[in-house]
């Protein structure tokens, strides 16, 4: 059967994936498959939140205080219009959760990307250059590692928020969070990349590249980097769960995303005030969403770590 080159290449890629050890270990573990499915569903619903959510919680015109604090649809006073009830401003809890997980995931993904880029760059430089540069970078990393990441993120976010005025805060919240979470997570990447770089740097292909006169920057980027990416992927997955938790915690403590465009953590913070008067759904549904998301991503990360580690096979 005649096949053009493009589809042929695509077919062979699919065959390679289906043939690989990673795919095999994936199909062998039911827990991982369920975790992957849940992660996929949460990502998809966050991505398509504007389309699939029943209400737009940010459209002030559609909110009515008459509908505030309604319990979930299945209880006696519930309204079938609002499946998981409404919050104090009459926002549909289900829709706010969908939009909220969108913000939580966005902050998580971007801050993990920021931490990874920063950590990989510093790790490559430290490992490849060695000497004094290496010593300085790694000493900073050592010191930072002795403090818990969440504390560092809290201190940075708190200080920056203290600097910014009330008006700025709403617009800058997203950036401040990403920078503070990113700065508190880079160490792990730097250490991992550095130790793999130390091994790679003495291999023959790097020496060959150096011999033909390539710029060190190009060697690091084109030749060393692709060979140290495996462990980085594992760290990034586990870090995503941690970053989502950190974002939620900072927002809960009041130094994260403000209440006008709530993330999951902000929703839990607002709902917490209503827990005692019996309106449990405002807190517990976003809380459950957060817990499920973190658990699923953690399980995926655990599996990926085992699957990519040849020693455990």
């Amino acid at each position: 059967m005649p096949m053009n080159k493009e589809t042929g290449r695509k077919m062979s890629l699919i065959v390679r994936i289906l043939d690989s050890d990673i795919w095999y270990s994936f199909t062998r573990s039911k827990v991982t498959m369920i975790a992957a499915l849940i992660t996929f569903l949460i990502f998809a619903s966050a991505l398509f939140a504007p389309i699939i959510s029943p209400h737009n919680p940010f459209d002030l015109a559609s909110l009515s205080l008459m509908d505030s604090l309604l319990p979930p649809a299945w209880s006696a006073e519930g309204d079938p219009n609002y499946l998981l009830g409404t919050d104090d401003q009459g926002r549909d809890v289900l829709s706010t959760i969908l939009y909220g997980s969108r913000i939580s995931l966005a902050v998580g993904l971007v801050s993990v990307a920021f931490a990874a880029v920063l950590g990989i760059t510093l790790g490559l430089i430290a490992g490849y250059m060695g000497g004094r540069v290496d010593a300085i970078i790694m000493r900073i990393a050592d010191v930072q590692l002795s403090f818990p990441a969440i504390l560092i993120a809290l201190l940075i976010a708190g200080t920056v928020n203290a600097l910014a005025d009330g008006m700025d805060r709403e617009r800058s919240a997203f950036t401040v969070l990403i920078i503070s979470i990113g700065l508190s997570f880079w160490v792990q990447y730097a250490r991992t990349v550095r130790s793999s770089t130390l091994v790679e740097r003495n291999k023959e292909y790097v020496q060959a590249a150096r011999l033909i006169g390539l710029h060190p920057f190009l060697i690091m980027l084109r030749h060393v980097l692709p060979n140290v990416m495996g462990p980085v992927l594992v760290i990034a997955t586990i870090n995503l769960a941690l970053a989502v938790i950190t974002e939620a915690t900072l927002s809960f403590l009041g130094v994260g995303i403000p209440g006008t465009q709530p993330s999951l953590g902000t929703m839990i913070r607002t709902g917490n005030d209503f827990l005692f008067s019996g309106e449990w759904w405002i807190t517990l549904f976003p809380g459950a969403m957060l817990a499920i998301l973190v658990l699923a991503v953690n399980l995926l990360g655990d599996w990926l770590r085992d699957a990519l580690n040849p020693k455990l096979r």
Binding site: R139, V143, S146, F147, P148, I150, L151, L154, L155, G158, T159, N161, A162, L163, A241, I245, A248, T249, F252, L253, G254, V255, I268, N272, L275, F276, G278, W280, T283, L284, G287, L290, A291, V294, L295, N298
Partner: protein, 323 residues
Amino acid sequence: MLAFIIKRFVQSLVVMLVVGLIAFVMFRFVGDPVDQMVGLETSIEDRERLREVLGLNARLPMQYWNFISSAAQGDFGTSYQFKRPVADMLGDRLPATLELALVSAIFALCAGIPMGVFTALYKDSVLTKLFQAVSLVGISLPTFLIGILLIYVFSVQLQWLPSFGRGEVVDIAGWSTGLLTSSGLKALILPAITLGLFQMTLIMRLVRSEMMEILRSDFIKFARARGLTPRAVHFGHALKNTMIPVITITGLQLGSIIAFAIITETVFQWPGIGLMFLQAVQDVDVPIMAAYLLMIAFLFVFINLIVDILYVVVDPRIHIEKA
């Protein structure tokens, strides 16, 4: 050996000076200290006098030195919000945080070690599966969510335990303790569990993996061959040998417990230094923020220094790099 200790000590000192610089920059440049201390009606001359008294006209390196040396003597300036010396405020609040941290560390040890031993000995028991599920939840759930769930179940639904505050406290030689009254003890239960749960899962996993490793070793086989009872083998020989890493990790975690107390104290409105710090962040009360930063940094640096030195003293196998 002495050279190693001196080198580590100097490193710690450098870290503290850098943290001190961060705190100083925060104090000096986040808002004008003078504006924060006086009202709008204060005259320019009065402001200038205050500026002179505070030493804000000196050269910056000199100001930094003054800041560091007074902080080292326990003088962190005056709170903008409360007009009280920050050192006094920290002193008032410290007992609450230390009691909470101590009780939750004890809880983590008392629950984590038996759970770890059990899961290592009975790998296929239903209880083991349950413990492992609990530990997965303990690692996946954020601290504040655990606190909220506990409040919802035990305070709102069952109404067994209070959800905020410390209860009644008794003053003993300037140390206010909640450990001697029944309401104080009741108020301590939920926050201590919230704060200790993560450490508990950590200790459980650690004890489990160490136990499983040691149970495979030769001296355990020999102890069994000598005909010792399983109880003597498991607790007298195996558990005893897992204790060194457990104690080290618990020591290192003490700093994290105090840092994570910020979250627990906020959820339970526990009047400790963590809650004070968070309120200071919201009110931009820079002297309190700077003092908290310095205190936490000192705690971490101190614990790490002690652990590093103890390692070398206790374990002769650790080779000291000659740099």
